[in-house]
């Protein structure tokens, strides 16, 4: 028993000697629990997705359409975009023609759009017509957007359906006879139930039969039952609402689910692999190899850049093997896009390698580097969107997503495999990855020259 306790004591002493190990032991769980708590809305007043960019174009000229847009704006899950920012920073209203090019460009500002077309309310058929454009790169996010859109749209359907009914009646009865009918009906309603006859007449002519208000009123009383009924109402209306959906990006992708996810898997795999290989710097230092190398006509910079290039080469090979495996096992189309994919792999591997080098540069031991790597990789994967859509995170955390190499690497992978972007379209993403690499490597080299790795 005594030897066992002595050995146990030794391990704890070693553990408490490492400040990095101690701090990460307590810091990592806090960070992870906080992140997951935010995602699943635990103790969060504003739980659920927030700020999903949604473009909306109202080509109908219908005031009810404007009210629908206002309702979408009030939905905190969405950040409604209705304007197009021109190169000179001036703005104009978005048009339907703008949507597809904007959604197809790399790093698009929005992946979902709703169009209220000119024939939103038709006089040729009873019902409504809407268009929904999407880039369903992330299944969770797409389903979330679909659900929220249905809820918002269907709560405004009755008013629009009333308009449709009036339009159709006008077509068959003519305007004069319809006016006559509406006035007569308003008179009956007014005499039977009270109210201002002229106001009732105006509401009938506008197609407002009060159903929408009734439904919104019921839902406003709150509670699951009210919600449930509203959705039942929505189910009824869904028969009358024709939503024309179009997948703007990734429509022809085979195995879409796996294609959407594989980028996140790949980048996490690479980060773990390369951060582990970066600890080889410590092994070489401890073996005295740096002494021998630096006594030869080799500079510190050459040692570091050789490590960097090795990491990049290894990373590219590992990523390509992973994608080829995903192609053969999950049906993802890889081979036709191999040249561009290799290019993205190269830039992603460079960014990941620089991250590994930075870890080695700022850590005092391989154990500290390993602990820090676990923490940072999990954090970057979480906020970078490798595990779940970043829209599930609070908006202030979303601000940091675009600062992570995980986010931009995933953008690159999905740009090739999902959006089928060409080289020109990929250039901005590759440029950002190159920028991240340059910044991180600059810091790493600076730290290496001041740190103890070559001491």
């Amino acid at each position: 028993m005594r030897p066992l306790l002595a050995l146990l004591r030794k391990d704890f002493l070693n553990f408490f000697r490492s400040k990095a190990a101690v701090s990460l032991t307590f810091l990592t769980p806090f960070a992870m629990i906080y992140l997951f708590g935010q995602i699943f809305g635990v103790n969060r007043k504003d739980s659920g997705p927030s700020g999903i960019p949604l473009a909306v174009v109202n080509a109908s000229g219908n005031p009810a359409g404007d009210r629908l847009i206002a309702a979408l704006r009030n939905e905190r899950s969405f950040r409604v975009v209705t304007e197009y920012v021109l190169p000179d920073k001036s703005r104009r209203p978005l048009t339907e023609a703008d949507l597809k090019p904007l959604m197809q460009k790399p790093g698009a500002d929005f992946r979902f759009a709703v169009v209220l077309p000119a024939d939103l309310v038709s006089d040729s058929s009873f019902g409504l017509h809407l268009k929904f454009l999407s880039n369903p790169r992330n299944e969770i996010e797409t389903q979330t957007v679909n659900g929220l859109l249905q809820k918002t749209i269907f709560s405004h359907v009755p008013e629009l359906l009333g308009q449709s009914l009036q339009a159709r009646a006008k077509k068959f009865l003519g305007e004069a006879r319809l006016d006559q009918f509406n006035r007569a009906l308003a008179g009956v309603v007014s005499s039977s139930f009270g109210g201002d006859r002229a106001e009732i007449d105006r509401q009938l002519a506008a197609g407002d039969f009060g159903i929408g208000e009734l439904m919104r009123g019921r839902r406003g009383t709150g509670g699951a039952a009210a919600d449930g009924k509203a959705e039942s109402g929505g189910d009824v209306f869904s028969q009358l609402v024709r939503i024309e959906t179009e997948q703007v990006v990734g429509a022809k992708v085979r195995s879409p689910q796996a294609t959407g996810l594989v980028g996140g898997w790949a980048i996490q795999f690479l980060l773990f692999a390369l951060s582990a290989s970066a600890t080889s710097l410590f092994r070489e230092r401890d073996a005295g190899l740096f002494q021998r190398l630096l006594a030869s006509p080799v500079t510190r910079a050459q040692i570091l850049w050789s490590k960097f290039l090795y990491g990049v080469a290894l990373g590219v090979v590992q990523l390509l093997v992973l994608f080829v495996a995903a192609g053969s096992l999950l049906g993802i189309e890889v081979l036709p896009y191999l040249p561009l994919l290799t290019l993205v792999c190269l830039f992603a591997a460079a960014a990941c390698t620089s991250f590994g080098m930075l870890l080695a540069a700022i850590s005092s031991s391989p154990e500290a580097a390993s602990g820090l790597a676990t923490f940072l990789i999990m954090l970057m994967s979480g906020i970078g969107g490798a595990w779940f859509p970043i829209s599930l995170l609070p908006e202030f955390i979303q601000q940091f997503s675009r600062l992570t190499l995980v986010y931009w690497s995933m953008e690159g992978f999905s740009g090739v495999l999902w959006a089928r972007h060409g080289l020109l379209q990929l250039l901005p993403t590759l440029g950002i990855l190159a920028g991240i690499t340059a910044i991180v490597m600059t810091i790493a080299v600076w730290r290496f020259n001041r740190g103890k790795i070559f001491g």
């Binding site: 401890d286 073996a287 005295g288 190899l289 002494q291 021998r292 190398l293 630096l294 006594a295 030869s296 006509p297 080799v298 500079t299």
Partner: protein, 305 residues
Amino acid sequence: MLQLRSVTKRYGALVALHDVSLDLAPGEFFGLLGPNGAGKSTTMALIAGLREPDSGTLALDGQPLSAASSTARLALGLVPQHIALYPELSAEQNLRIFGELYGLHGRELRARIDDALTAVQLHERRREPIKQYSGGMQRRLNLVAALLHRPKLLLCDEPTVGVDPQSRLAIFEYLERCNREGLTIIYSTHYMEEATRLCSRIGIIDQGRILALGSLEELLQRLPFEEEIRFPATPATDPLADQIRPHGELTTLDHQHRFRPRPDFRLSAFFAAAEALGLPPRLFTSQRPTLEAVFLHLTGRNLRE
């Protein structure tokens, strides 16, 4: 060949080397002897260009030595204290890498690798990963890896730590051969017998200062005695000890008296006194002072950090 002029190196508040000056002639086998933390490794690191001095200059054949000087480094070979080799690679692969770093390639590199491996008796196992080698084999390879480019000056930082006697002998013989062929060697160690056997000149360094510099004979002359006579510490010999005490330094260790007479004391007087006390000659042994005696005389007996 190598000149150090008033070299000082500090690590924060610690002065690792203080105003050290040293000249080495071509073909010298120079021993740098000192206790742990004396400044041996710092001296080696400065000469190898791994660190820059805070003040003072270092030059090799008149050319300044610095971390940035790659030409000077071509003339240097460093045998680090650690086995600074890639354990997964074979001896041949390791030597190829280090040879290429010094600009060797092709047939010349292959020939030098063959020569080196033959010289340290590793040719037969040149294709095995060196992690399968014994400690002694790794040490031998560690040595020849620094010589592949045929430097003018070889820096050996305690190159025989943890080595079996056979490998140590092989390393000594190889270094002696290289030295005979003109290689200048600086050999850092705290093994006295290594310095005694190998070095034509020795510098004793402690607390960042060179305390003594010279050949073994010159260093021995710095001792205030020339011989040491040892005899058992018993009641029978105590009267003799009392008689000789005023004529030199008498210490008693492990039931044995050690008498180091002053130069003016005649040994015949000592033996006459012993004979008068009826002590037989077999009780007495006479020894020449060793480098260890010089070392301890200069550096003291206190344990080091």
